[in-house]
Amino acid sequence: MAKELKLMKGNEAIAEAAIRSGCDGYFGYPITPQSEVMEHLMLEKPWEKTGMVVLQAESEIASINMVYGGAGTGKKVMTSSSSPGISLMQEGLTYLAGAELPCLVVNVVRGGPGLGTIQPSQADYFQATKGGGHGDYQMYVLAPASVQEMYDFVFDAWDIAFKYRTPVMILSDGAIGQVMEKLYVGDYVPRWTDEQIAEKAPWAAFGKPAYRDHNIITSLELDSAKQEAHNHHLQAKYRQMEREDVRFEALDTEDADYLLVAYGSSARIAQKAMQLGKEKGYKIGLLRPITLFPFPTKQIAELASKVKGILSVEMSAGQMVMDVKLAAENKCKVEHFGRYGGIIPTPHEVLEALENQIIKG
């Protein structure tokens, strides 16, 4: 594949990836710090290049329901927003999960609660991984740590979304969304034709051909026995994700005495802290979950029996640390370090926390 080097913001990379990955439709509503996604799309006019539809909706509620509509007809559709807007989308997300519709939702997280701040944060981990909406459901959650991953994960998201008929979330943050980095972009992947959609998404409601019964997209089932069976089916998908599609990055974990666990922006800070720690003679490893659901539980469990302690580093008051603790099963000490409300921790702060809470603690 021909590669082209560009300098872009993370948010722009999302938009560029949408156009180049064969996305059929983007529906969104402006909110800081992710507005560049729609701005870049409107500048690029993808409807002239690929036929992709871009629509500015009247609210995040409308946006996510537009996604529901497009996804229900088998199209590759997406939206993006930031924390308060994602909260408004929770109704739509649980309907999408219930109706088993593939789609992509990008959350460029800012500090909360409430209107909070427009600065970077990772305080939406619970919402993304524990089902922000009602009912038993999960989304597949990808956590990019660079502008390149913002771009690449859009392509990966379509594969997963259609493999499992599930909403996929890219859980980013204001730092990754706003930072400019170099990235390689590839050739344009054509949008699916009607024939391809009929083949790849035979369940979709794209207009009833004479050869089949009418397709119905719904999350409603009034018969509780059937609803329970549907819940079993959804849970089986989530277990399959855990078996087949966990992603993570392990750095220097082989002979580590201490383990840092961090995702997204925090992982980059933790990586620097790791270097600083090595200069002081500590053997530190870094486990970066790339998927937050399914979570690399097995990998953390294995490392927990080898290391002396684990520090979970997040820009939150301590959310992912719960999953790290569950994975570690008390085999070693697990502590949390976080800055939040839009404050980004420094590598020195992280190393100091590791020393105080784990190494000396």
């Binding site: 059929d24 439709g25 529906f27 539809v53 629509l55 909706a57 009247e58 609210s59 509620i61 409308a62 946006s63 329901n65 537009m66 996604v67 529901y68 509509g69 497009g70 229900g72 007809t73 199209k75 559709v77 109704e91 739509g92 309907y95 109706a99 979709a204 409601a205 794209f206 207009g207 009833k208 051909p209 004479a210 009418h214 397709n215 119905i216 997209i217 719904t218 999350s219 409603l220």
Partner: protein
């Protein structure tokens, strides 16, 4: 005596449209939903657009409409049908996406989606069934409930101090530049049914010609919710509902006629 010779194509004066499924409808006897479903389905059959029709069903009495229309369908979250239809029609510009919504769905929880879809001039058909009450949840006040009308949540009658005024959302939508056709019909008599069907046909023809939003309100009784017999309910509808919600065209070919 039954004469088997009578079953000949030339003797056929009526048949059930195949755009309705064989599913037994759950609607209360005497309710207008069944009739409205039938005339929409007949229009889809007569226009030959079954393979291009996509129904967006609401939350409310007609939540299961997708079981009855023999077209590809999506069940919407409460009030969100116009947003869903907007996206589908933009992604499939030669399809016939239509929403089927009640007054609680369209004029209360979905007011925002309704107004903005109409104001964008989305090339969709909105069928708005107004019975002045929340039927499915057990007869609570709707935005369209008349003043003085008793419901489960206005047991002493709707009053302005407590509940505000009935919302004439159809007149409001006719003022938006995106709407091309706005009409109010009813289905309580055979003559009214024929007129309503003609209006629905007009709406789908407009959509075929990419004219923008066509909005068809259809007054229907809710005899269960109104605690009346179907006959009494239709009479009450003519005398009371139609005084506030006056039937007829409000906007034709993009021009207000009332």
């Amino acid at each position: 005596m039954f004469n088997p010779d009578i079953i000949k194509p030339e003797n056929l004066v009526y048949k059930r449209t195949n755009v309705l499924t064989d599913a037994v409808m759950h609607y209360c006897p005497g309710c207008g939903h069944g009739t409205i479903h039938r005339i929409i389905a007949e229009v889809i059959e007569e226009m030959g657009i079954q393979d291009k029709a996509i129904c967006i069903a609401p939350v409310g009495c007609s939540v299961l409409a997708y079981n009855y229309f023999n077209v590809d369908s999506l069940g919407a979250a409460h009030g969100r049908a116009p947003a869903i239809a907007s996206a589908i029609q933009r992604l499939h510009p030669n399809h016939h996406t239509f929403t089927y919504q009640g007054d609680g769905d369209l004029a209360a929880i979905g007011t925002g989606e309704t107004i903005h879809a109409c104001n964008r001039g989305e090339n969709i058909v909105i069928i708005f069934v107004n019975n002045g009450i929340y039927g499915m949840t057990g007869g609570q006040m709707a935005p369209t409930t008349l003043l003085g009308m008793k419901t489960a949540t206005t047991p002493y009658g709707r009053c302005v101090e407590l509940n505000g005024y009935p919302l004439q959302i159809t007149e409001l939508l006719a003022d938006l530049p995106g709407t091309y056709y706005v009409t109010r019909q009813s289905v309580q008599t055979p003559a009214a049914v024929r007129k309503a069907k003609k209006a629905i046909r007009q709406a789908f023809e407009n959509q075929k010609n990419h004219k923008g939003t066509s909005f068809v309100e259809i007054l229907s009784n809710c005899n269960s919710g109104w605690k009346k017999t179907p006959v009494e309910a239709n009479k009450w509808m003519e005398e009371n509902m139609m005084a506030k919600y006056v039937p007829g065209d409000i906007k034709v070919d993009g021009v207000k006629v009332r």
